[in-house]
């Protein structure tokens, strides 16, 4: 039942914030923050729950939903879902705090959309009825579309429509694949069901299985923004308001990786192995493409958006080498990237708030005027680059280590991708924070609110970097849920 509350509380919080926002904008913000805090309070203790075997699950809920189609309201949470849900809730709270000063118009509606999008994302992470999963998958898009289209920057309309078309269009592929899976199951067993665990029993064979898998694969890679279907990402992340960028980059991208791990790999194991070579090289291409384009950007926000594409390349590789070590790395990198990129978007947002520009050519020399902002910025750029001792390094290292065991060439190619990463990171630090200032600036540095946010995120990324074991302990049993698939040597 607590899983249901996880969904209901943000939905209600959003519904309450909308009318409140008109007369009492401050109250609306507090209500949303409190709702997410309450959710976090419900979510954290779930880590110690257990469900009866089979599998390592922490909590579950099941009720009939649309019996006519054998669809049920089936929620289940394992360690991976738990981590991603906690990440969603925490970064959700950050995105509310970061909007405290930035969003002045339509406060209620903004927060309602934010909360509904978060609720949809949590649903994606815990739904284990395929149709329910798809329902949440679609549900999280509409509010995010509003956030971009109404509160975004100059080209928001274009960006919002692009975002929606890509994700919604690829979503229809998911729907077709899900329906095909369910009807295939019905032909095999005589029962129409969308239950994840039932569908696991009837993996689709041959060419049919490949097409089903391809539908899911394309949709999840679009969401993950892997090359060459990343086109929506740079513009969307750049044009969204800060809170929107944080949620998009830190949370929504992760749903794509989650889908690949949770659904593509176990539901169509044969076909997933079949596409693995393609997926691995797409991953390598993403790493280089994202890095090279990030290097060429003069828009600070766009630069960070492109680095996301590069990092998601590692995720794509990690998923498709089919070993627990790499999967550990994938989940770890999802968390670390969520924290570091979230922090970077908050920093860019505050730069824009102060300088009214995102153009790196018009920054420069910020360290003299805004020392706190600049030092945090440097720290998080280095973290994103994968500096040892910080969170992202652990994730990338585990992925490369896991990849080397089965596909050494890919591992080497991906590791070479770390060189352009260092280039774009250092050039960004150089252009933004060092050198002569473009103009005299008399802007206030980070205040208490921003410092507190930054310190928390920095502490998190350091903790992830120096003591990753607790996270790995949580993911290990969860990944056993997926590991019904034997590791094959076909990738060598």
């Amino acid at each position: 039942m607590s899983l249901v509350w996880l969904l209901v509380i943000p939905l209600l919080g959003g519904a309450l914030a909308w009318p409140l926002g008109r007369a009492y904008p401050l109250l609306a913000r507090i209500v949303c923050l409190a709702a997410l805090g309450l959710d976090l309070g419900i979510c954290l203790p779930l880590l110690h729950g257990t469900l009866a075997a089979p599998g390592n699950w922490l909590a579950g809920f099941n009720a009939p939903w649309i019996p006519a189609f054998g669809m049920s309201f089936r929620l289940k949470m394992d360690g991976m879902s738990w981590l991603l849900t906690v990440l969603t809730l925490i970064l959700g709270m950050f995105s509310i705090v970061v909007s405290w000063k930035e969003i002045e118009d339509g406060v209620g509606f903004f927060h309602a959309n934010l909360m509904w999008s978060l609720a949809g994302t949590i649903g994606v992470f815990i739904a284990l009825d395929m149709f329910l999963f798809f329902y949440f998958w679609e549900l999280m898009l509409v509010p995010m579309y509003f956030v971009i289209a109404i509160w975004g920057h100059e080209n928001r309309r274009r960006a919002a429509i692009k975002f929606f078309l890509f994700t919604q269009g690829s979503g229809l592929l998911i729907l077709i694949s899900i329906l095909a899976l369910a009807f295939f199951h019905q032909r095999q067993t005589g029962v129409l069901s969308f239950d994840y665990f039932a569908l696991l029993q009837t993996p689709p064979p041959g060419a049919f299985g490949f097409l089903v898998m391809l539908g899911l694969f394309i949709a999840f890679v679009v969401k993950l923004a892997g090359f060459p279907v990343h086109i929506w990402l740079p513009e969307t992340h750049t044009e969204a308001p800060t809170a929107g960028s944080v949620i998009l980059a830190s949370i929504l991208l992760k749903t794509g990786a989650y889908g690949l791990l949770r659904f593509v790999v176990p539901l169509a194991p044969q076909a997933a192995h079949g596409i693995a070579p393609v997926a691995l090289w797409l991953g390598v291409a993403s790493i280089f493409y994202g890095a090279v384009l990030a290097y060429g950007q003069s828009d600070f926000k766009k630069l960070i958006a492109y680095t996301s594409i590069s990092h998601m390349g590692f995720i794509l590789i990690g998923v498709f080498v089919f070993n627990t070590l790499a999967w550990q790395g994938v989940v770890f990198l999802l968390i670390a990237h969520g924290v570091s990129t979230g922090a970077l978007f908050i920093i860019v947002g505050s730069v824009q708030h102060r300088l009214h520009t995102r153009d790196l050519d018009r920054m420069g020399g910020m360290w003299t005027d805004l020392p706190k902002l600049s030092s945090f910025g440097t720290f998080f750029i280095l973290a994103a680059m994968g500096l040892p001792g910080l969170g992202n390094f652990v994730g990338e290292f585990l992925i490369l280590r896991g990849t080397y065991a089965v596909a050494p060439v890919v591992a080497v190619a991906a590791a070479v991708g770390l060189i352009p990463a260092a280039l774009y990171s250092l050039i960004a630090i150089q252009r933004a924070f060092h050198g002569p200032a473009d103009a005299a600036r008399a802007q206030p540095d980070f205040g208490a609110r921003e410092n507190a946010m930054m310190l928390l995120l920095a502490a998190a990324i350091i903790w992830l970097g120096v003591y990753p074991q607790p996270i790995l302990d949580v993911t290990a049993p969860a990944l056993q849920n997926l590991a019904a698939v034997p590791v094959t040597a076909m990738l060598r």
Binding site: P64, W65, I66, P67, A68, F69, G106, F109, F131, Y135, E138, L139, L141, V142, Y145, F146, A149, I150, R157, A160, I161, F164, L165, Q168, G169, L172, L173, L175, I176, L179, A180, F183
Partner: protein
């Protein structure tokens, strides 16, 4: 027993007579609307007992299917009547009392069509409905656009009625009977019969406005006053589909191989052309017109996919379409004023609605999401239903077209939502909405979300009524 099963039709006919007499005694728009509403409600109320009785009387058949469709028609007409009331209330340029009368008359025709069991009653119902609708379309005769739309509909529906009559004649000649069952069983496959059915198909194509018989739609929808447009978009299509689906379920009916190819082509063209042309419109009612063409294409997919899932899918989609279209036209209706030279139907007129009328904007957004097939709106479940039906019977080409056309459709639905979210241009005074308008819009909005989140009750209802 036959008497009871025909009760909905009798109640409607009685209400028409009472309304005529009432207008003759004293003109009052309120009473006129109230009587029409009471007639529709009364007819709805006797449907359960009619379902108990059931019966066929040669000319009409009152079985679960026809009564179920009659219920849907009555409910949709009621919603449109409630929308029409605030729309016409302030009108001073024409007498308003006949609008509810025309609506009631058209509904009588639609219900007769839904229950027709003979080509005579089919034509009778069709013409009663069509003629009354022409009156509804051209009702604000001080608007040139409305007059033009009425005339256009008159000529084109006259032509399609001609096709229908010619087809009926050929069928009668071919098999010597006007009864659906006997005609279909008697003359299956003869050239006379094929030609006759093809003519009927053309007539149905006009009424359903599928490509290539769709040219009248945008002009008529845009020219008609919003409630009249809603009626043409919703009730007329339900009635024609009702008789079509019932006939197709008869023994000896069903599609021949050639007809399947033709219907597939019509479905594909309707989906694509409807959504592509909608992209270029700046008038909301025209957008809804083109969108309805595409939606009829989706419906054809479900009709072509035979089987139990497809059967419910058609009904579910029809209910969804009815609620959503009525809601979308309803938003235009509550914003508009009948005395004005035109309705508030340009997309630009909706600018800033999220800031000036957040509630109505939310309802409109839900309608658009439902048309686009995005949760939490009911249209999402409806689209899933059709896809399930299509995939179940391996109609991959149609499903592929449906996906492509849905993505095209997103463009213009989203565009309208974006326009609503822009800052309003001038901070003018916003007139309050009337109470019935508010209540209806809120009810439609709740229905769209409620059935979108929990569709099972509706599915169960459709299954129990239509068997």
């Amino acid at each position: 027993m036959i008497f009871w099963s025909a009760a909905p039709l009798l109640v409607l006919a009685g209400a028409v007579a009472v309304l005529l007499a009432a207008i003759a005694i004293r003109r009052s728009f309120f009473w006129s609307s109230a009587i029409a509403g009471a007639g529709l409600l009364g007819a709805l109320a006797v449907i359960p007992s009619a379902l108990q009785a059931r019966g066929a009387a040669g000319l009409f058949v009152f079985d679960a299917a026809s009564l179920g469709f009659a219920g849907l028609i009555l409910a949709a007409s009621l919603v449109i009547l409630v929308i029409a009331y605030p729309y016409w209330r302030g009108c001073t340029k024409v007498p308003r009392e006949e609008f509810p009368l025309l609506l009631l008359l058209a509904t009588l025709g639609a219900c007769a069509l839904a229950g027709a069991n003979n080509f005579i009653t089919l034509f009778l119902g069709l013409e009663t409905m069509t003629l009354a609708m022409i009156g509804m379309i051209a009702y604000p005769r001080y608007r040139g656009q409305a007059e033009e739309a009425g005339l256009k509909y008159l000529i084109l529906s006259g032509m399609s009625s001609g096709f229908v009559l010619f087809g009926i004649g050929l069928i009668e000649l071919g098999c010597g009977s006007l009864d659906f069952g006997r005609a279909l069983a008697g003359g299956a496959g003869t050239p006379m019969m094929v030609a006759g059915l093809a003519m009927l198909g053309v007539g149905a194509g006009f009424k359903l406005s599928v490509v290539p018989f769709h040219f009248w739609v945008p002009d008529v929808y845009a020219g008609a006053p919003a409630p009249g447009g809603a009626y043409v978009a919703v009730v007329a299509k339900i009635a024609v589909l009702a008789v079509l689906l019932r006939v197709m379920a008869l023994p000896g009916a069903g599609f021949s191989a050639g007809a399947v190819h033709a219907a597939t082509a019509v479905a594909i063209l309707s989906m694509l052309i409807g959504n592509l042309l909608a992209l270029m419109q700046d008038n909301l009612k025209r957008v809804l017109g083109y969108s309805s063409i595409a939606h009829l294409g989706y419906l054809l997919v479900a009709i072509l996919a035979e089987g139990a899932i497809a059967h419910v899918a058609v009904l579910f989609y029809l209910v969804t379409y009815a609620i959503t279209m009525a809601g979308a036209f309803g938003v235009v209706a509550v914003l508009s004023d009948a005395d004005a030279p035109r309705d508030m139907d340009r997309i630009a007129d909706l600018r800033g609605m999220f800031w000036t009328r957040p509630g109505l904007a939310a309802v409109m957004t839900l309608m658009l999401l439902s048309l686009a097939g995005i949760p939490p709106a009911i249209g999402f479940i409806a689209k899933m239903y059709i896809m399930a039906a299509g995939i179940h019977t391996d109609l991959w080409v149609l499903i592929g077209t449906m996906v492509a056309s849905s993505v095209i459709g997103l463009f213009y639905y989203l565009n309208i939502i974006i326009v609503m979210s822009l800052k309003p241009e001038a901070a003018g005074v916003v007139a309050g909405l009337s109470l019935p308008g508010r209540v209806t819009m809120a009810a439609v909005g709740f229905a769209v979300v409620g059935f979108g989140v929990a569709p099972q009750p509706l599915i169960a209802l459709l299954r129990s009524v239509f068997g």
